[in-house]
Symmetry: C2
Subunit: 296 residues, 2 copies
Amino acid sequence: MNFSALHQQVKQQTDASLLKLIEELPDYAPQLKAAMRHALLAGGKRMRPLLVHVVGNTLDVPKKDQMAISMAIECVHAYSLVHDDLPAMDDDDLRRGMPTCHIAFDEATAILAGDALQTLGFSILADAELSDFGDTKRAKLLSILANCAGYHGMCGGQAIDLASTGQTINIDALKMLHRLKTGALLRACVEMIATVCGTLDKQSEADLLVFASNIGLAFQVQDDILDVEGSNEILGKPAGSDEAQGKNTFPAKLGLDGAKEELAVLHEKALQPLTRLPYNTDSLIAFSELLVKRDH
Amino acid sequence: MNFSALHQQVKQQTDASLLKLIEELPDYAPQLKAAMRHALLAGGKRMRPLLVHVVGNTLDVPKKDQMAISMAIECVHAYSLVHDDLPAMDDDDLRRGMPTCHIAFDEATAILAGDALQTLGFSILADAELSDFGDTKRAKLLSILANCAGYHGMCGGQAIDLASTGQTINIDALKMLHRLKTGALLRACVEMIATVCGTLDKQSEADLLVFASNIGLAFQVQDDILDVEGSNEILGKPAGSDEAQGKNTFPAKLGLDGAKEELAVLHEKALQPLTRLPYNTDSLIAFSELLVKRDH
């Protein structure tokens, strides 16, 4: 299967599994259920599930473990987007060409849908039928999810982002911000797969984490570049919104060419440790290219 | 130790442990950290930790397990209060006589603090040093927490509450709402202690859960009564706010006397299964009395 077909397959399987998960919820809170479905299924690229599956396939991790991990991660990712889009945060009306959750529903419902999606992420890992690897690994997965999502990861990064919007911060602070806000969840994809894989040596795990960290930051640099260069139509949201909101971005710090150079450097840093891995890394390389060359 | 001294001790230990937990967070997001501390430490009565300790002591569960459970529950409880108070939700400026989180800080910070506190609840259970009872019980604790917090519990109940505000719902729907919104978390306190207790028979566990369910609903009935009868000063928030907001309440459905009768019936239903338990249930009874007779 070529890489594009794999991505398509992961997207379809993730969409179908998430839809099933939502459909199975009882109907006593129909508005909340609809908002959770909207947030989870409004056309995401499923980059995190793809990363989980690419690393999972590379390490021969069973499909059902891959699926539980990627669904949990995607719930947490979806919750973060719903809350980030709120009027009190980035105040975005559009995402992926669709109305954001608080526009499609209302603010209270969007806050609650985000809350319930975060819980659902933990619920999936706590309850999923996993391979027979014992609950010590399950507990580790939950610990990784909590660590990447909370103060030490995504929430911490978003707080720094809010505090530094309209302020000047240096490039190291900007990198730190995005390592927490975007990078931690991408890194967790790899960390979780490494956790359930029974055969990974320490050096290979460390190499995969270096790959993930650099890819995570590259993802954000490309996001910033697209916000400058992209069109509303392809992005599915207004281009130029970072600058309009006074956000610190890589192009603002380094210039557009400087940001592109930074992207190339991070990409190179991500690929370098792969050369040491005793696995076929073609799909990891393909993933990194998809990520840095995407146009939306 | 008499019951009041036990409550005082639990309150002090919970406050101290939660403060330590927050103090240990790194300082890179100082505003978020301060908001989390405000939400966790602004004078809660610690009824849920007290319930955990009362049931835990009754069943001889080690102190460190009790503490991990009660801290996790309290983080989730605190997050729910921060989000419920938001302008888009109940729009409350005061809680326990203090400014609510979005008033003391701002809305974005309050949303994030709630988010990070929810994550912290899971983090505590995933990472706590527990008694040597194996990770299967730890995974079960995380599953219970997710179940009581998300769509199947607190978030679902809050969604029904929002949807029914200003509408007329019947008494059964009102009970269902509060069994989810308030009851699920109180029930989870007992369910978690029962999970870690190695010696509890099925009938006793069922009896304790009937106690918890009825106590949970009684808690809400008393809350509604206090909102009618209490004074701003003692409540630490404006009395009469339920009616002003068009909330469905037990006094609104049943009249004030009817609500008091319902409270007595629920209290009786809570106490009845305790008579079968092969334990000294004095502190469980004392807890139930504290709960239904409290004035704030």
